[in-house]
């Protein structure tokens, strides 16, 4: 489904990514883990076309898309949940949800979204600026689901969410995976990552240093936590 090879990125002189390579197969849920500043967000921004100082190959469903404009990539099926949530302050919740075009058959209808996230239904006429931090996070995720993307790119979706919602999100992702969802997830929360994902790429200082499966994570949890922390 998604294949990345030799992806390097820069901020001016500073290199943020060094020849990153990974793949996400159909129906897979993959995480990118790593400590602050490792380059996780940068990777996602390169994928959706928001970061231009980059080189490397990005292949989506067999097509090389690295030269495409962001809007074309989105219509080709990339759904994005940015780390700053990307909520439109001047649009209402409803508008935030209906703004992006529906690009795939798996697009969630509004009813399903509101049924899943009752918090949003209550605030559907409120403008994005007025939502609480967590509500914005939920809205951002819901918006990506509504697009019906072929592959979801989620940047720290559990950030600022109440524990109960984190659980709900986990259930939801697992459900969606059963329905065939493909996703690339950036997470600092290892527990969450292992609960939902099949494989993990460990990113450090702009390089992929390891690929792990859930079993390996369980075995080496202490070591990994230290790695992520220090």
């Amino acid at each position: 489904m998604l294949e990345v090879a030799g992806l390097s990125a820069w901020y001016g002189q500073a290199q943020a990514l060094k020849k990153v390579a990974f793949r996400v197969d159909d129906g897979e849920l993959i995480t990118l883990v790593g400590r602050n500043g490792a380059g996780k967000t940068t990777t996602l921004r390169c994928l959706v076309g928001l970061h231009r100082e980059m080189e490397g190959r990005i292949v989506l469903g067999g097509e090389e898309i690295s030269g495409w404009s962001p809007e074309r990539r989105a219509r080709a099926g990339l759904g994005f949940v940015p780390d700053d949530r990307g909520i439109y302050a001047t649009l209402t919740v409803d508008e935030n949800l209906t703004l992006p075009p529906q690009v795939g058959p798996t697009a969630w209808p509004l009813d399903r979204i509101y049924a899943t996230f009752p918090v949003l239904r209550e605030r559907r006429r409120a403008s994005g600026a007025k939502l609480s931090g967590g509500e914005q996070q939920i809205l951002s995720i819901a918006r990506a689901l509504r697009m019906g993307a072929r592959i979801l790119l989620l940047d720290e979706p559990t950030e600022g969410l109440a524990p109960v919602l984190v659980q709900q999100l986990r259930e939801m992702l697992l459900d969606a995976k059963r329905e065939g969802l493909t996703a690339l997830l950036v997470e600092q929360n290892l527990r969450f990552a292992t609960a939902v994902a099949d494989r993990h790429y460990l990113l450090a200082q702009g390089e992929i240093v390891e690929t792990l499966d859930n079993a390996a994570v369980a075995v080496r949890e202490r070591e990994l936590l230290r790695h992520l922390g220090v």
């Binding site: 409120a126 969410l161 109440a162 524990p163 109960v164 919602l165 984190v166 659980q167 936590l225 922390g229």
Partner: protein, 267 residues
């Protein structure tokens, strides 16, 4: 609004002393265009203790914070800070009662250096601010204390860097330093560890512990690990109301809290 006496119902045995409240709210309510974000909250923060405010997203925690610090005006109800009626005070007036806060979304002065941030905070306790005729040399006397504060939060090396250049974790630390610089008697922290890596979270926990001595602290947190470690009392909100209030261990097993906030297991 319920009559005065009923509002004094005491929920927690710790609160038996009525004279020692750092913060007391009476039926505080905030409506946004018909939507009640905070709904008749009676909150009492006992002086000198660390309190955590938790609750599902949109429960009204940040709104309550803003009500306490003068960034929002209550639709009804009263806010008392250190026994003074603060309901109608402006944000800066409340700050000058000895209240410092941090923001849920990092909020710094992009073009000032870390040291300048702390100096600004130190200076705010004096009447220097409006002196447009005196030289900036007058600020020099704050520098030693400023560096000391930066050291306390682990920013000694970053004194001269612009806030906009600091990594996220250091930004949050700087926020803490500014809050501390004001020697507040009441410290309000909105999600101080959000977005931090494990290392920074650990450091922040230690720091909160350290500064809590003798101060009243109220922090909003979704990270239960942090809450468990630092909070002596936990207040749980849901849909604008307080649904539970007590020590962490007690609240943690409250079925209402589990249903509304914690969920079945750990997290």
């Amino acid at each position: 609004m319920p009559p005065f006496t009923t509002r004094r119902t005491i929920r927690s045995p710790i609160l038996a002393r009525t004279d020692g409240f750092a913060v007391e709210t009476r039926g505080v309510t905030k409506e946004f265009a018909g939507f009640r974000a905070v709904n008749g909250v009676d909150l009492r923060l006992e002086a000198g203790r660390v309190h955590a405010l938790v609750g599902p997203n949109g429960a009204g925690k940040t709104s309550l914070f803003n009500l306490l610090t003068g960034f929002l005006k209550p639709t009804s109800g009263e806010v008392l800070i250190f026994g003074r009626d603060a309901t109608h005070l402006r944000a800066d007036e409340i700050a000058n009662l000895g209240v410092a806060r941090s923001f849920q979304i990092t909020s710094l002065f992009e073009q000032l250096s870390a040291l300048e941030h702390v100096l600004l905070a130190l200076q705010s306790a004096t009447d220097l601010g409006l002196r447009f005729w005196s030289s900036e040399g007058a600020l020099r006397r704050f520098v030693p204390r400023g560096r000391e504060l930066l050291g306390e939060v682990g920013l000694e090396g970053a004194a001269d860097r612009l806030a906009s250049d600091l990594p996220y974790g250091q930004k949050r630390a700087l926020e803490l330093a500014i809050a501390l610089a004001r020697e507040p008697r009441l410290l309000l922290l909105d999600e101080p560890t959000s977005g931090m890596g494990l290392e920074d979270v650990g450091r922040t926990i230690a720091l909160i512990r350290q500064v809590a001595g003798g101060r009243t602290v109220l922090l909003v947190e979704h990270n239960m690990g942090v809450v468990a470690e630092v909070a002596q009392r936990v207040v749980v909100m849901q849909q604008g109301r307080v649904i539970a209030d007590g020590p962490y261990e007690a609240v943690r097993h409250d079925p209402a809290v589990i249903a509304a906030y914690l969920g079945q297991v750990d997290a």
